[in-house]
Amino acid sequence: MDDFLNASVIIANFILIPGLAYGSQLALGALGVTLVFSVLRFSNIAHGETMAAGAMFTLLFTWWFKSMSISIEPFPTAILALPFATVLAACLCLITDVSIYRYYRKVKAEPAIYIIVSVGVMFVYSGFIRFLIGPNDRQMSDGQRFLFKAREFKNLTGLNEGLAIKTSQVISISSAFVAVGVLFWFLKHTRTGKSMRAFSDNEDLALLSGINPERVVLVCWIITAILATLAGSLYGLDKSFRPFVFMQLLLPIFAAAIVGGFGNPVGAIVGGFIIAFSELFVTFAYKRVLTYILPESLAPNSLTQFLSTDYKIAVSFVILVLVLLIKPKGIFSQENS
């Protein structure tokens, strides 16, 4: 029995909790991509860098607050910095929209052109980030690092294996939960939210109904900036802030959005968790778990890992290809291919 409990604790410690945290971050990112896709009708390749910019703003505010010795112990200072960073990120998105995307909306550009434009925006953003803060690895978290330490868990339960819960993980999961709740409430029950859904559903009819497209676009960018800043900062808090990581994150985020069906917010959330858990399941070394469960004679000598962690990104790619082959409109679509 103890063996089984020990094995479960390892799974919880290395897959379940990190998966929930990483999944929440991906879900927030995928929601942003989905939102831009359904309202502005293009795939925003620059979303990863928008997240990076948001995280950078959070980091800059964190440093500033720290220099003034403002902190909200035991929570990381980044939480306090988030609202301010969100405002800057929203400004960045709106400036980009007014100076770049608005023109393409006016000339009714093809989606393909939009994608290329957003690739350009991505490069400008990433240059801007490296120019401001540099390419180095930075720690974002401070305050109390663990909510629950592995040793405390061992002492409490008398098991061999420990279960640690990082503050950043709890913050990731809970704030994603709150953000998603607020977003859905906003889309379902407010006038502005409904007008966004109407605009996304049928643009021409929305215009006939007197919905102002520029206002819808404005609100869409603000929400996108909030989601991106939240996703980027939470990822940075959980791991660390490295500007180049966000370009790599683009793949799992798009995979998450596509797995759930592009333009479907619920799908984006579920997709985020599917991608996060698959990455962890496939790259986790099961040796210790198996040693507990299997009889001694069968215990593995190798790491029993399906894939090396270096191939983590490939997992989302494989899932993406499979979904596109089997259910191209996402797992939540009614129709079959």
Partner: protein, 234 residues
């Protein structure tokens, strides 16, 4: 002078004109039907009246005010409503949300108008929380007309409201549309089902190749030998 006048309208897409010197008028409480062969420019004329196409020549008067330069949204504020032929509902939203979005431009309380629309189309009240995209063709058209009525328009323009619905549903829809007109609204509609439409029309226009070919009361057009032979099939 009529409440709505589209006078000598000439317009089209790009450089080629589809309609030429076409005049259409409608009065409050009146049903005006525009019929004609395919490609005669019926829908184009409706779009021109609603401002979705700009006129090369001619003008649009609403209550004796020239509205030719106004954008479609501004015409909605002036009291015009438009029901497009296709994708005329928000399919992913509930019936009630569709109606609410129809009234988006209004600042005041819309609940009374909502009740009026529900009285006119009782089926919509029963299905108010259902997604509009899940309704049948006839019910969708009711949602579409209801959405346009939410701004309490003086003029309602319908582009083939009975396209793709069964004959029984069509009769029902025409009945509702008559009720709408009786409440004091000028209804202007384009119809493929010319006979049925002309039978409820106060006034009818036959367009041929973008020009007024015949215009008379609905009854007179139905009785006109030439119109019957050429457009109504005997």
């Amino acid at each position: 002078m009529s409440f709505l006048v589209g006078e000598n309208m000439t317009c089209g897409y790009g450089k080629s004109c589809i309609i030429h010197d076409c005049t259409i008028t409608a009065d409050l409480g009146e049903i005006v039907v525009v019929v004609g062969p395919n490609g005669a420019g019926k829908s184009t004329a409706m779009k021109a009246i609603f401002g979705m196409l700009s006129l090369v020549r001619g003008k649009i008067l609403l209550n004796e005010t020239d509205i030719s330069e106004l954008k479609p949204q501004e015409r909605v504020l002036c009291g015009m409503g438009f029901v497009p032929q296709t994708s005329n509902i928000f399919a992913s939203m509930t019936v009630e949300e569709n109606l609410e979005m129809g009234a988006f431009i209004r600042e005041d309380d819309v609940s009374e108008t909502l009740q009026q629309v529900f009285e006119l189309f009782p089926i919509l009240r029963d299905k108010r929380y259902q997604l509009a995209g899940e309704l049948s063709g006839g019910q969708r058209q009711q949602v579409a007309v209801g959405r346009a009525l939410m701004t309490e328009p003086k003029v309602l323009i319908l582009d083939e409201p009975t396209a793709g619905v069964s004959p029984i549903v069509m009769d029902d829809l025409f009945e509702r549309i008559t009720e709408v007109a009786r409440s004091g609204i000028a209804v202007l509609m384009v119809e493929q089902n010319a006979k049925q439409a002309l039978s409820i029309a106060d006034k009818g226009y036959v367009l041929v190749q973008g020009r007024n070919a015949y215009s008379d009361t609905g009854e007179a057009l139905m009785a006109n030998e030439e119109v019957r032979r050429t457009f109504l099939g005997g």
